[in-house]
Amino acid sequence: MDRSPLDLYKPDFWYTLAIAVLVLVPLKAPVVRKWAWAAINLAFLGVLLGVPDLWGPLQRQAYLEAARMLGASDLLRVCACLFVAYIVLQAVQRRWLGVIPLALAGLALATLFTIHKLPSTASVYRLADVKSALGAIGFSYAALRLVDALRLTHEGRHAAPDLPSTINYLLPFHMLAAGPIQGYADFMAQPAVPPPLGASDALRAVERIALGLFKKYVIADLLESSLLTPFPTPFVFGAFEVMLFYFLLYLDFSAYSDITVGAGRLMGVATPENFNRPYVARNLVDFWDRWHMSLSQFIYRNIFIPVQMALVRRTGPKSALWCGAVAFLVSFLLCGLWHSLDVRWAMWGMMHALGLVVVVWYRAWLKRRLGREAMNRYRAHLGIRLLAVVLTQAYVAVTLQVVTWPLELST
């Protein structure tokens, strides 16, 4: 079964988007709107994962066979997981059984994540099917959304979602394939009924979708097919290809985000931006404020700040820079492993962490040495800015090569 949530030449996504716009835009009753949105998300999951055809067995009164088919259905399993997530969130809010629901949720997420991300599980009987279903629903993104909801609910900063909101937050069909990772606070802050969709809003949304498709299927595909070679090339063209690969990844990923944000605007569903011109970033801190922003904000909220604060509390404010360095290393090691449980991605994470530590320490050193006014002049200097941008972009491109290089060697 083909399980790609967003394929231009398969109309599932576009039909679902059209139905969602037609249904959701006129709906003004918050509860009805919430349930309708949940029904649309579940229907899309049904299209994606397949709905078991129980009609035959039921007609033959073969109830056992029907039950077996239902039990083997990925759709039913995903629905069951959503219901369990809802119950766990309710339990966390009501402090049922202390920290046991949180611990069980953590264990379940870690197990599923390992199956999903460990390359060797693809060849294990039965796990391969689970892995395929997890890939289809974009489990990595859903898992991080659930972590955010669990944390905010546990800290009492937001109420646990009701059942339709659990579905809508964890598996919204237009963010299913590749995020963004919407923060739970953002999700809860959106109005129950959005403002009416005006003509200029609709035009901008359609423009955004068209731009995304154009970036991916015309610019990125043409550049890739005409300029990117599958074999090692001499130094100058090799360096060009390193930069091109990074640029292609940006086009590809930001194109998906354009489509998602445009679709969200059309339906009146808050959808976070994921990119803000990362190619003008002047250092790695700036880069992570602009690239895959929903992931970097998740890491900042849920890993970096808690780790840094815990260390500063133990060691005192004088060692804040060292605590920050450790927090960067932990955060980006986990960020790398989130991409894949694989030594190359761990190295990629370490390279970014080291780069970030160098940026923060260099900035602190410059501030001490130059003072505020000279520092402002330094930051405003065009030549320095250009050099900083070039170095940053080159460093990011090289880190991406670490991810692909050993694979190419082995083929």
């Binding site: 790609s4 231009l8 590749a178 995020g179 200029s200 068209a210 590809d252 969200g264 059309l266």
Partner: protein, 45 residues
């Protein structure tokens, strides 16, 4: 965060027409040149 924003200032008709034409041109190029079934790199993560 991007919900639908409610800034619906009136846009001149010619501007709307030009923007729609550009949308149609982009989509036509996608249809003519796009690779069938090409996946997004981050898809299925």
């Amino acid at each position: 965060m991007n919900g639908p924003d409610s800034t619906n200032g009136s846009i001149p008709a010619w501007q709307i027409a030009v923007r729609l034409v550009w949308v149609v041109v982009q989509l036509s190029l996608v249809y003519a040149l796009g690779a069938t079934g090409a996946q997004f790199v981050y898809q299925g993560f």
